[in-house]
Symmetry: C2
Subunit: 356 residues, 2 copies
């Protein structure tokens, strides 16, 4: 696909903007959206920015029956001098295409989609909140639109980008959360969709999360599906442990999503001279560290939350309190550094940010 010109159709009457001091995650949407269509004859075509409006989908559209859908999550930040920054959008586009390949969705031109996102954010830039910890969440997604009940890859798709002004992901802010180690339900297994940002992975997680919430936990920690022994992810985030001075994160084993924040944290830690072990880590090892008082920090990482410190893990009747339930020093430093780079407060020596 060439850099085809993006048609822009502006909304006539702008929507009211939500109160910036009380932004819930993913509940408000801006005035416009980006659309791009795919069919076998034309490939991806007709890029356009149009007023945010309902989609018109045949009831037999394959996405509604067979879940052929992938998405990405990114943010735009308001920096000094009215600058608008994106954070490592190329990494999201690489993963978008990894997801596409796994679900037999035609690949997209990442550079063009970044250009489209820049154009869309620019059209709706008044929606970017300016408060601390706020941002404009960007949700690109692709859905299978062909009206057919045969189980196979669709012949038509739509790529859509919507924008949502957001506050902090967790309503508690950067407060350590309580996590239940899930021993019954599974998120993904090797050979499945775990490495793709596919809609079905999230459907699989809902029940476990509801049950954890009812028991007083914010999220679940997912163990591997095979032995129910090794740690995979926390909620919809990657996870890091600091044990006896060493930082450990589960290696990308074929059922874990390769997070952009995960990658950024590993690069930062490497630059700071702190080595990260990417390897299998069992819940037993974490429990042993907890008993020996060497479990120093635990935190989840993801685009929505950036860093989510874990204050307590509950596994098999064992309660593990991490760092007396306080935010760890390294967690806080990583959060401050990444959000600092994202918002232009810290020099971007790693060239991670991209101007809109």
């Amino acid at each position: 696909m060439t850099m085809e010109e993006i048609r822009i159709q502006h909304r006539e009457i702008r929507k009211d903007k939500p109160d910036e001091s009380n932004l819930l995650f993913g509940q408000h949407f801006t005035d416009h959206m980006f659309l791009l269509d795919y069919n076998l004859e034309q490939g991806w075509h007709d890029p356009r920015i149009v007023p945010y409006a309902p989609l018109v989908l045949d009831p037999a559209a394959m996405v509604l029956h067979y879940g052929q859908a992938v998405f990405e999550g990114m943010k735009a930040f308001l920096a000094k001098d009215e600058q608008i920054l994106l954070f490592r959008p190329n990494k999201n586009m690489e993963r978008f295409n990894q997801s596409n390949r796994r679900l037999e969705i035609p690949e997209i031109d990442g550079d063009f989609i970044i250009h489209a996102i820049q154009s869309l954010v620019n059209v709706d830039k008044e929606w970017i909140p300016s408060g601390k910890g706020t941002s404009l969440y960007i949700r690109p997604f692709i859905i299978a639109t062909e009206a057919c009940l045969g189980v196979r890859a669709s012949h038509t798709y739509q790529l859509i980008v919507i924008l949502s002004p957001v506050g902090a992901y967790y309503s508690e802010g950067l407060e350590p959360v309580k996590i239940n180690v899930e021993t019954s339900y599974t998120r993904a297994v090797r050979g499945g969709l775990g490495t793709a940002k596919a809609a079905g992975n999230y459907a699989a997680s809902i029940k476990a999360q509801t049950e954890a919430k009812e028991a007083g936990y914010s999220q679940v920690l997912w163990l591997d599906a095979i032995e129910k022994k090794y740690i995979e992810e926390v909620g919809s985030m990657n996870i890091f442990f600091k044990i006896d001075g060493k930082v450990i994160t589960p290696h990308l084993n074929g059922s874990i999503l390769a997070g952009v924040t995960r990658d950024s944290i590993m690069e930062l830690l490497c630059n700071w001279g702190i080595s990260v072990e990417e390897r299998q880590i069992s819940i037993e090892e974490v429990y042993e560290a907890s008993k020996n008082n060497t479990l120093e920090e635990v935190f989840g990482t993801g685009t929505a939350a950036v860093i989510s410190p874990v204050g307590e893990l509950f596994w098999d009747n064992h309660q593990m309190i991490v760092n007396q339930g306080d935010i760890g020093q390294l967690s806080q430093k990583l959060y401050d550094t990444i959000t600092g780079i994202q918002t232009g407060l810290i020099p971007d020596t790693l060239h991670w940010t991209v101007n809109v």
Copy 2:
């Protein structure tokens, strides 16, 4: 939900009907559809039959992002004296609610939905094809409609029923198919969504199926995700083996869908005095039987195909030819009996059919 009256809005201009002699699966849809809405205040409400038309969905509708969607598959058959028969619709409604519970979707009143399906089929009864092997495929499904990007259960849903006149599922008819035993990709794992008829399961299967087709096979045979050793399903069907006179089917181990056709076959075989072993069966055992010439029949079972005889299995460089590639006697008898009951040609002593 009480038996609330179903509003009916008839289409003014009827659509052209497709050529009955060339019906592809799930490509044509009738004049009307059934809709039912859910919200927290009213529960399931506003049942209505309306002209088949595109759905209007917010781009942030949760089904498009997190795959919270379940479905069922059923058929209506034209029997003698213009009678219209459904096949065991109560079994589909039981499973619909099992799927709902797994995906945190509010349960439906199965009897009411059967009533709604009967009303809808009646409105569009001219669409039921009359040729041998044809039927009206019924697709009830539920999608999460709330516009929100938080990962949790939606607060609003829509249940939709659409109808599609269909010929035989496999374009080859009741011809034995070639199956590739899948050793890399997985369909589901215990603790996941495998027992639910959830959209995400099908998304996970597309790539394996494409690769099998490219290699000259019709479908894949799924092995368990953990040991890659035990047989689970074939394509989107359950599977049966006849080895040395005995019929064996994988037991419902927590990652296999409990098929209505599977259940019907087990009941028929039991009535015929043929015992069925519901147990773990490894691909190794099937291979050994093939080598010893005791692998007599293999067939898939599902609503769309009813019986799909397997003529060849390919596993780990071993080619296993089943019954010289011909349809087995038992496979044929089961197909004839079930389709006979479904279409009223064979007395329904088991009370499986329900009049529309």
